[in-house]
Amino acid sequence: MASVSTPLAPLEAQPSPSFIKRLRAGDAVAHTITLIAASSIFLVTLLLVYYLWSESVLPRQKFGWNFIFTSVWDPVAGQFGALPFVFGTAVTAILALIISVPIGLGAAIFLAELAPRRISSYMTFLIELLAAVPSVIYGLLGITLLVPVLQSHVVPALKATLGFLPIFSGPFYGVSIFSASVVLAIMIVPFIVSVSREVLLAVPTEQREASLALGSTRWETTWKVVVPYASRGIYGSIFLALARALGETMAVTMVIGNTPRIQTSLLAPGYTIAAVIASEFTEATGDLYLQALIELGLVLFALTILINGIAQLLILATGPRLARS
């Protein structure tokens, strides 16, 4: 019945050449812009290395490799040796690992293998929140809560039992290598838990079933089959935690005592590379002093790159298990 409406003009069969040109140009532009953005990473890395190198030329010329092996840090006399800081960095990091790895691994095993699913997800969420707490907050609590607790309870108990050991000798004034190690341990535990847990969860169920079917208890299955299977990834998580511990600045500088001396006792104050840069950079008088601090930054940079590189390799290696023969 109705009137025949005028048919719509047919859509153009082919887009016009200029449209296509604009399309292609749009793609090219997008490609270029995003490429530039991605390349910024290289730019930053190169600039970083360049600055660290060029702005540390004075101490490198003056001290050479001895910089790393000299234990005297005396800005007034113009003597700059990195050894106290390398020592402090290494000792605090290693001690922090000794404390945090068993606890972190234990928690990861509980969360991945032994705990019921609900408990596991809530606890994992909480522990991952811990990783988000800023370093300066740990430092604040370190000074006001941890150090007094160490002073009044932990260290006296330590001295009573193990005080004969040289590492626990001498007076304890609160700020010390020991305190810094404990704070560091608390800070890196969440990383160990988080990464190890994921690595454990990635172990195939068939492995667990095979072990259980042979009459193992759950713990035996976990310890003798699952953990060995995931061992490379677990080592990776430890290296990651180590890399973090090496670079931690604020919490350490607030509880370590900031003293550039190498001493046997863990209860004595000390210094780390990151801590000395943080506390003395703005006070540095003269180019040599400042550049010595920058050279310390270079050392720290090299160290963390190395450790992180190893960590990445280990974590990647827990993918498909390759035959060892």
């Binding site: 699913r117 195939p204 068939e206 492995q207 667990r208 079933e209 095979a210 072990s211 259980l212 079917a213 042979l214 009459g215 193992s216 208890t217 035996e220 003798k224 089959v225 060995p228 299977y229 298990r321 390759l322 035959a323 060892r324 023969s325």
Partner: protein, 272 residues
């Protein structure tokens, strides 16, 4: 058996061997066994008797519950969340569901569908169950491992490389290794969940042969989606469909003259 009226499948020869056996004892029995994944009822009141030192095959289409049934027998299904078992399972008249589960699994071993050797050496794989259960000291351990590898028809192929990684073996060898590992703790029952489904025909034939040889020492329950395999290997066969045990009888009866229509339909290939 080459006459014209040869049945479609050549069933296993009747079990008349060196020892005359009129009655076989019942090794494993289930009474009204039901299994739930959450609210889904995967097994509906299965009542079944598995005779000792025989090979019992469980067949049926995908999803019919035969694997679920098998995994209930050694309670490996317990680790699935929200699962529930109802009914009774007895091993030599002892209640399986009330037993200590690690003791149960020492007596009822399992081989899985895909080979799952541990990333350890061949020796350590076989020795694992023995060590964990404290069944042999250092000296006898070597003998136990060797004996198990013989029983699994793998010894000749690996005797020179016992300390190499198990993962370097082929698929068929890995599965025989898993069988050796399960046998090392001397189980009374061996459960096999489609053990040959990931293997080629030659590897499959090797495993079927070794099961035949194992029968004397061990009660064997094998789930298979391959009817010819059941016909070749098993003394008894049970047919599962949609969580129910439809029929259970001696293999030759199941394949030649099944009493239920569903069984006949499945065996003749009307569905599958």
């Amino acid at each position: 058996m080459t006459s014209v009226t040869t049945p479609m499948f050549t069933p296993a020869p009747p079990t008349g061997e060196s020892k005359p056996r009129e009655h076989s004892e019942v090794k494993l029995r289930t009474e009204d066994l039901s299994f739930y994944y959450g609210s889904f009822k995967a097994l509906h009141g299965v009542t079944l008797e598995i005779l000792e030192r025989r090979i019992t095959a469980l067949i049926g289409p995908s999803g019919c519950g035969k694997s679920t049934f098998l995994r209930a027998l050694n309670r490996i299904s317990e680790s699935i969340r929200n699962s529930r078992i109802e009914g009774r399972i007895t091993l030599d008249d002892a209640d399986v569901l009330k037993m200590d589960v690690t003791a149960l699994r020492r007596r009822v071993g399992m081989v899985f569908q895909r080979p799952n050797p541990f990333p350890k050496s061949i020796f350590d794989n076989v020795a694992y169950g023995v060590r964990v259960n404290g069944l042999a000291d250092q000296r006898s351990l070597k003998e136990v491992v060797e004996r198990s590898l013989h029983r699994a028809a793998l010894w000749d192929e690996v005797k020179d490389k016992l300390h190499d990684s198990a993962l370097a073996l082929s698929g068929g060898q890995q599965q025989r290794l898993c069988i050796a590992r399960a046998l090392a703790i001397d189980p009374e029952v061996l459960l096999l969940d489609e053990p040959c489904s990931a293997l080629d025909p030659i590897a499959t034939a090797k495993i079927e042969d070794l099961l035949f040889n194992l029968k004397d020492q061990c009660t064997i329950v094998i789930v298979t989606h391959n009817m010819q395999q059941a016909a070749r290997v098993a003394d008894f066969t049970g047919f599962f469909l949609m969580g129910k045990l439809i029929e259970f009888d001696r293999t030759e009866i199941m394949f030649k003259k099944p009493s239920k229509k569903e069984t006949e339909d499945y065996i003749t290939g009307r569905f599958g």
